[in-house]
Amino acid sequence: MSGPGGDQNSKSDGNEHVALIKAAQTAVRDTTRLTRLFAVLSEPAPLELMLDRVLSTLSELFSADIVALIDPAGSGMFSPLAAIGLPEYMLHLPMSGAESGCVCRAMATRLPIVKENVDRDPAVEPQLRELGVQTAVWTPVIGSHAARGVLILARCLPVPFAGTDVDLLSAMAYRIGLALEQSQRSLQLERIVKAGRKVSSTLNQEALFAETVDMLPTIFGADGAVFVLKDSEGAAQCVARKNIGPEWDFLWTQLAERLFADTNFAGFDPYAASNFGDDAHSLAIKPSGALPVRALLAVPVLLDGRVQGLLAGFRASVAPFGPDTCHMAMLFAAQVSAAMENVSLYRSLQEELAERLRTEDERRKLEDRLQRAEKMEALGTLAGGVAHDLNNVLGVIVGFSELLLYEEYLLDDTKSTVSEILTAGQRAAAIVRDLLTLARRGIQDRKVLNVNDILLKCLNSSEFESVVSDHPHVLVKTDLETQLLNISASSIHLEKSFLNLVLNAAEAMAGGGVLTIRTRNQYLDKPVSGYDAVKEGDYVVLMVSDTGEGIPAGDLKHIFEPFYTRKVMGRSGTGLGLAVVWGTVKDHGGYITVQSEEGKGAAFALYFPVTRAEKMSEQGFVSAAAYTGKGETILVVDDVKEQRDLATALLTKLKYNVSSVATGEEAVDHVKQIQADLLVLDMIMDPGMDGLDTYLKVLEIRPGQKAIIVSGFAETERVARALDSGAGAYVRKPYSLDKLGLAVRKELDKPVRVAESKAAGAKNWSTGKRDHIV
């Protein structure tokens, strides 16, 4: 080789010069390698580009035909993370993950492996042999903690890698490992942040579970994922999984049970295994069949500061999860824990909100009903107040009319007139009863009856005839349940209600239409909410529907209010028709629903609770002899003179010896002096003691004193107490001669009983049944 300027040196000097040059070349070459590689590693670039530059540089610097970087700890795969010299079709093929393979051995031993005659070595990756590789070196890539992968350099010429080459490669591999670690750490952090945002915005539990296992493989660098949580009883349950079937759930629950009991895991240390099959035995877990899991990483999931579950990522290869991945996994698990708390809070909020809305709705409905009831109550109170005075007046009219009819001297014409007075008085009394029904203060004479019987009676009544004749274009249809069950009800009130409904229906079909009357048995297995809230139970339903003008939606909630009507006053009677219907239904413990559409008609359905008791036979005509007196003494106590006079007259007629007083106090004084066989006590006497107080006082003086109660109001609690205390019957005003007579006779005919207790309201006086006559 000629030197600069072409001077020739002596042969020995030339040889020495050559040797020096060669040494310099070697030194520069080695420096070059390090310098070039460090320069590439220090340039900020995305990981993929950086690795490509590094491997190209290595290929050039070491005359390597193939340079491949395997990073199983990071990527979880044995296919090259980056490669130069591998044909495109080989890039995604895994280099051998077998433990005996050069890759795994280099990672396990953390020592480079150098081979010649590679084409004949079966331990070498088949890809390398296929490409005609002659010599190769596997250098472990070690990060800051452990071997994470292998750098493979291979030559297709039989030029071995020198020891200095291998040393240099080891140094370079370490630098590559650090750079890889740093880059992948940034990438993982980025993924964690994204994953955290996603899970924290999920407010549905199932969606959270699904998203967690969906994201976990990317974060862990895993092939699949599993999410296990403790259920309400503390047992482990697999709540979500990815890339593994439910037939392996037993494996995860067993693992979870073991880990939950492990103090390290409970102390928030992750569990990692590079070959789970080996560990499974030590954990006393018995997998059956070919286990699809090799490397495994499980991290605890905390709730309320305690381990309540685990997240596991697994790989089908033995590529272990590195320490960095463990840290990232713990971070992710913490995010998932926080997200679960969010979901729980959100659910609680939702439930509370729903409850509040439900309560609000219920409150509104109750308020509506209360308002209606209060309105009705107020109206009823007003009506009741009127009714009380009216009843007394009517009582006189009806009573004395009746008496007059007994007089033999009356001419027929006069009798007829008196009879009409009586009828009118009775009719007025009926209206008063309506008012009292409205006021919910009317006790009905309840009997076990069949609604169909009542309806048939009504359909044959003169009132119904009158409705039909007044509305000739209305067609009446009936559809009555043949096996209709019985109810406990007042026949008069049912009749009244039915006729009111029929009248309303007919009047709604001014131009004609169809009036349908139906009955049926109805079992409600859940409450029905409508105009009224109908509870579940057995009912007899009476339905009256028409095809008339219908009720506007705005009027529907008012139709049962007294005097609320759109009809012309006069045709609808008093305007209390539907109010009476409503009151009747309520008195019978029933419900009423209305459906209507303007222009198409209306349908009323009355629900009456069923009774399983049998009907009693109709009570027949009772002769006067059954209630004629035998000279017994009766004391009438009533603050109203006319009532006193009436009662006295009627009872005298019935051959009793009658005295009367105006107040309870007088009655007490009277019985102190004179014993009466029976007291006829008015309940409400104002001012002073009422009927109950009077009776109790009398009982102190005359234990066992017989009495009946009379009143113009429905049975009240005080009447009930009086009856419980020993009073024989309650007779409602206005009463007829026979009703009063029967009650008196019946009581007088009872044997005398000695009171077991003088305490007011003692129920042991009662036979358990109260007799009362309306």
Binding site: M1, S2, G3, P4, G5, I21, K22, A24, Q25, A27, V28, R29, T31, T32, L34, T35, R36, L37, F38, A39, S56, T57, S59, E60, L61, F62, S63, A64, D65, I66, I84, G85, L86, P87, E88, M90, L131, G132, R155, C156, L157, V159
Partner: protein, 423 residues
């Protein structure tokens, strides 16, 4: 007259008389039916001033040698002075739909003759024989050479189909950028078993516009790859003829296509020092005459050097490099050579290339325009000596502005180098 004599000379090399045509055809047919399908190669050239005519003449001459066997591959190396589209049309009017690959350059080698600047066009026609050819090209490759290399390698492989062995011939625009990236892109697809040969198209050292050809398409700022699928191994031979002088040095700073510092000192300074010159002694005007004989050699692992020619120096001591600049951290040594040393490698190259395949039909060579400059008046000697070494096998080549030759590892871009492949 001169044109016709050249045609006759070309035809003579592989003559096929009319009277012998039937016999020849029968012989060819026998060879085709036999287990060994022999490749036939014919070359032609034309200096006709008009492009289409030049194309037709050169193509006819090349085909004449094939004894009416249709060509499977046509190579075209030409001066850039022609209307290239017309040139290709003229050629294709004779060669038909055979695959056509080619480039403009800084001279052509055709059957021992050198076609200098502006002279004309050379055409090589090959029958398929055992080879399978696939061609692909990419335009606008500047800026994403790696991806372009992958694309053309992938597409040309797909066109040729799989074979036990293969090689890739690459022609690319020398002005497109760092062509080593193009080589790397191709390497990603080929892997180490497929050697690479070729050159960067030139424009007779004007460095303005260069072109490559894909069938009837003329491509600027592009690359074209020919996948040569073979049933036997193919080998690329590379030599340059320079020897290292001075001491190895470290490139410490580079920028773009300029070496800024060598060994921590201004690159030009370090360079001149190695030549025994005082700093600044080498003027910018004289620089090229010196640097062409004393290029830089990038030290390789096996002791060889990859040549990089500095074509100029700047006022602040930077060296402008032709082609791929050595990366910072590279070890370099100043090389030295002359016409003799550069020509002395020819027989070795031809012999080594043809030694791989005793049945080779043609010897493809890619030499560097810088070598031609160094040869000076002896420029035609390279063509002549190569042909002499090849014997009856036609030598066909191009003077490029950068050569491609990848045999080991990913490196494959060279300067001032001769590379050869026998087909």
């Amino acid at each position: 007259m001169e044109t016709i004599s050249r045609l006759k000379l070309a035809a003579k090399a592989r003559s096929c008389k009319v009277g012998d045509r039937d016999r020849e055809r029968a012989g060819m047919k026998k060879e085709v039916d036999g287990s060994c399908r022999k490749v036939r190669a014919g070359t032609g050239m034309s200096t006709a001033p008009e492009a289409a005519r030049a194309g037709r003449e050169a193509a006819r001459a090349a085909l004449a040698v094939l004894c009416e066997e249709p060509p499977a591959l046509v190579m075209v190396f030409t001066t850039p002075r022609y209307n290239l589209a017309e040139l290709l049309a003229g050629i294709r009017s004779v060669t038909g739909s055979a695959i056509l690959i080619g480039a403009t350059g800084s001279g052509q080698i055709v059957m021992g003759s050198l076609m200098g600047f502006g002279e004309g066009v050379g055409v090589l026609a090959l029958t398929a024989g055992e080879y399978r050819f696939g061609i692909a090209s990419a335009a606008n490759i500047c800026g994403d050479l790696d991806r372009a290399g992958q694309e053309i390698a992938r597409a040309s492989l797909a066109a040729a189909g799989p074979t036990p062995y293969a090689a890739v011939m690459l022609l690319a625009d020398c002005l497109a950028g760092d062509l080593q990236e193009l080589v790397k892109g191709i390497y990603r697809i080929t892997g180490p078993k497929v050697p690479l040969v070729g050159g960067a198209a030139g424009d007779e050292l004007k460095f303005l516009k260069t072109f490559v050809f894909h069938n009837d398409t003329v491509i600027e700022n592009g690359a074209v790859a020919l996948w040569i699928g073979s049933g036997k191994p193919l080998r690329v031979i590379t030599r340059h003829g320079f020897e290292p002088i001075g001491i190895p040095m470290l490139v410490t700073r580079v920028e773009g296509t300029e070496i800024i510092e060598i060994g921590g000192r201004p690159a030009a300074l370090a360079y001149e020092e190695q030549l025994g010159l005082t700093p600044g002694e080498l003027s910018s005007e004289r620089f090229w005459d010196t640097s062409i004989l004393h290029p830089l050699g990038i030290l390789q692992h096996d002791g060889a050097s990859v040549i990089r020619v500095a074509r100029a120096k700047t006022g602040d001591g930077r060296l402008k490099i032709n082609g791929c600049v050595p990366p910072a951290g590279s070890g370099v040594q100043v090389m030295s050579g002359n016409a003799d040393t550069l020509l002395d490698i020819l027989e070795e190259v031809a012999g080594a290339a043809l030694g791989v395949d005793s049945d080779a039909a043609a010897l493809l060579v890619f030499s560097c325009a810088a070598r031609k400059v160094i040869f000076g008046d002896r420029a035609s000697e390279e063509a002549r000596r190569l042909q002499a070494a090849a014997g009856q096998i036609p030598v066909f080549g191009l003077y490029c502005c950068g050569e491609f030759a990848r045999s080991v590892g990913v490196s494959g871009a060279h300067n001032a180098t001769l590379t050869a492949l026998a087909l």
